[in-house]
């Protein structure tokens, strides 16, 4: 469902070239829950950004749902993000002056759905994350964990092919992190593919599969092996 072949990403500034990703070969199947770990600055976010069609790359091919993403127009990439991908960020990134309902509504609006369908999906998504009763609240009236759950509702409302989560628990205390993780596992168990960057080994270990990135290079380790690697690290 998601296949990267020989993908490289170089950030160029006037002074330096940063090889953020080097020749990544990777295949993620439908329904997987993949954790991505690695030291800070190793290229995890860059990997997610490429997977999420947020950034373009120069080398290699990236097949998403069977279609090569490389060289697509900006409009086409926007469509892919809108229809196939759900994003969850470390700092939630809710729009502070919009009620929860309207926050979850944002990606659906850009999909041009009817008002009725949007309403159904928003309500269902907020129900899934346990915040159906707070639809008209503003994000600032919620705790961090709740805010992240709203972000998850926003990500799943459009029934994406997969969720990309960049340190979704990074700003949360451990209890809230637990709840968010359980929610993600729950969503995954209903069939949604999830790729999650995390610093937390505990959480990483709960995924089916762990991908490690060191200095832009990806090593893909099946779960059983991953456990050993993490334990021994």
């Amino acid at each position: 469902m998601l296949r990267m072949e020989n993908v490289s990403k170089i950030y160029r500034t006037d002074l330096v070239e940063t090889h953020a990703l080097r020749k990544v070969d990777l295949h993620i199947k439908s329904g997987e829950f993949v954790s991505v770990t690695g030291p800070s600055g190793s290229g995890k976010t860059t990997f997610l950004n490429l997977a999420g069609a947020l950034e373009t790359f120069e080398e290699g091919d990236y097949f998403l749902d069977g279609h090569n993403v490389k060289g697509l127009s900006d409009d086409k990439l926007s469509e892919i993000r809108n229809q196939k991908i759900g994003f969850i960020f470390q700092s939630f990134n809710l729009l502070p002056d919009l009620p929860l309902f309207d926050n979850v509504d944002v990606p659906l609006r850009y999909r041009g759905m009817s008002a009725k369908e949007r309403k159904e999906r928003i309500e269902h998504a907020l129900e899934t994350v346990g915040l159906a009763s707070r639809m008209q609240h503003l994000p600032t009236q919620l705790s961090g964990g709740q805010q992240q759950r709203v972000a998850i509702a926003r990500a799943i409302a459009g029934d994406p092919l997969f969720l990309l989560a960049d340190e979704p628990t990074g700003n949360l205390d451990s209890l809230m992190a637990q709840q968010v993780m359980e929610l993600l596992e729950d969503i995954n168990s209903k069939g949604t593919t999830i790729i999650m960057v995390t610093h937390d080994d505990q959480l990483a270990r709960r995924a089916h599969r762990n991908i490690q990135i060191f200095d832009g290079q990806v090593s893909d380790i099946e779960k059983s092996v991953a456990d050993d690697v993490i334990r021994s690290a």
Partner: protein, 452 residues
């Protein structure tokens, strides 16, 4: 999508009301002043008799001595002598109308003893004046050629005078006295809206005359010719003493004191012109027109363009107002840029969640169009007061000798100007927003979402 973008645009306007207001004010003040000037310029550029202005010509023939100064086209150029006027009036050319006029003055009296005698000016002209220049009649008519030839004492008066002297009733058939002469009223004009009093070639904003008298009567009774005129050669002295001169002496003099007009259809123009030149040549054989045969037939459009183009005040003011508008727009660019750049984070999120560039552009364009719309409305309101102010200055600078009704048309907004201001406001605001919007829509998706 449109309704969503519109909703977002409205929300964003309300989000930072002070910035929004500042942008609207910047555009409105610039546009207000700009529209004030444009309206004054537009109104004073309106041609009188627009439906036939290109066919109505002022005739100027240079009949001066060889040593006279060269004339620039249109500048204080010679009028026509009385004898040339009479000679030209003899020319018959179907489809061509000719009229001429000058100004006289006298003491006017009516039978009603409650009305004090008043010193007044009057236009002296021929019957064609009314058919060529089409003043609207309230009662009666102008005089015809036969009446004119008999030298009958008739007069056409303005609505203003009819109101003042006769309380507004139909005064046709009654009479007025000018000095010792009794003249019968045969016509009362309605208010005659001329954008310029062109027929005396002053192109002033003065109201048209209040009295119109046949030239035959004026000449037979020696009514004086008002205001200065040029005389040359042997008659040079007349110019200095014309007020006391009896008109006898003016009749055959080389003094140019008649303003001569012709209405010539396009297809007759070349013939008419040739006829004038032939006339000048035949007079030259008799020892007149000693200089090169300089002759101008200038239509109303060209005359007005000339007068208008020389309006230093409007020209300077136009440049200043345009510059000021440009400065205001630059200011708006700055405010919009500041306002939009604050929204980088939100835009990068919306882009990540699937908004296309063009959707972001549309959202902000709508916001800007609303700003332009409000700026336009406020700008028009400002220009209304601006025009009122300019009119007050005009009234003041004339020591209140002109009346509001006379100058109002020059300071009046009309739908054309309102539409023009509106479009200008919206288009300029959009232009001002191109750079800020371009910056904003090029914010990479998710680039601003790095964790804190």
């Amino acid at each position: 999508m449109f309704s969503y973008n519109f909703h977002l645009a409205l929300k964003s306007l309300k989000e930072r009301p002070a910035l929004t207001l500042l942008t609207i004010l910047a555009i409105a003040t610039g546009l207000g002043l700009y529209t004030t000037v444009k309206t004054m310029s537009y109104q004073s550029g309106q041609v009188p008799l627009a439906h036939k202005s290109k066919n109505v010509f002022l005739l100027q023939m240079d009949n001066r001595e060889v040593t006279a100064d060269a004339v620039e086209h249109q500048a204080r150029m010679v009028d026509t002598t009385y004898k040339d006027t009479l000679n030209l009036m003899q020319m018959e050319m179907p489809g061509v109308k000719q009229t001429f006029n000058w100004s006289t003055y006298g003491i006017l009296n009516v039978e009603d003893e409650n009305i004090n005698p008043l010193r007044t000016f009057a236009a002296v002209t021929n019957s064609a004046f009314f058919t060529m220049f089409e003043p609207p009649f309230l009662h009666g008519n102008g005089w015809d050629k036969a009446t004119e030839e008999s030298g009958e004492a008739v007069i056409v008066i303005s609505k203003l005078m009819n109101d003042k002297l006769f309380g507004g009733r139909n005064s046709v058939g009654e009479s007025v006295r000018i000095n010792t002469h009794v003249l019968k009223i045969i016509g009362v004009l309605d208010t005659w809206h001329l954008t310029h009093k062109f027929y005396d070639r002053s192109f002033s904003r003065a109201r048209p005359d209040n009295f119109f008298i046949p030239y035959s009567f004026a000449m037979q009774n020696g009514l004086p010719r008002r205001a200065g005129f040029d005389c040359w050669a042997a008659n040079a002295d007349i110019a200095r003493s014309f007020r006391t001169e009896n008109t006898e002496r003016l009749i055959n003099s080389e003094c140019a004191w008649v303003t001569f007009w012709a209405e010539v259809p396009e297809e007759k123009f070349a013939d008419y012109r040739q006829q004038i030149i032939s006339y000048m040549e035949s007079e030259r054989a008799l020892g007149r027109f000693p200089r090169e045969l300089v002759m101008y037939l200038t239509n109303l459009n060209d005359q007005l363009a000339y007068v208008h183009g020389r309006n230093q005040f409007l020209n300077t003011f136009s440049v200043l107002a345009t510059l000021f508008f440009a400065v205001c727009l630059l200011n708006a660019v700055g405010i919009l840029l500041a306002k939009f750049m604050r929204r980088k984070k939100e835009v990068s999120l919306r882009r990540a969640l699937g908004a296309k560039k063009k959707t972001i552009i549309m959202q902000h364009l709508l916001e800007v169009i609303i700003i332009g719309f409000l700026g336009g409305v406020l700008g028009i309101v400002i220009s209304y007061f601006g025009l009122q102010g300019m009119m007050s200055i005009r009234l003041y600078s004339s020591d209140y000798t002109v009346r509001v009704e006379d100058v109002l048309p020059y300071f009046q907004l009309n739908w054309t100007m309102i539409g023009h201001a509106f479009l200008t406001g919206i288009i300029c605001t959009i232009v001002a927003s191109i750079y800020p919007i371009w910056r904003l829509c090029n914010v990479p998706p998710a680039s601003q979402l790095k964790s804190q």
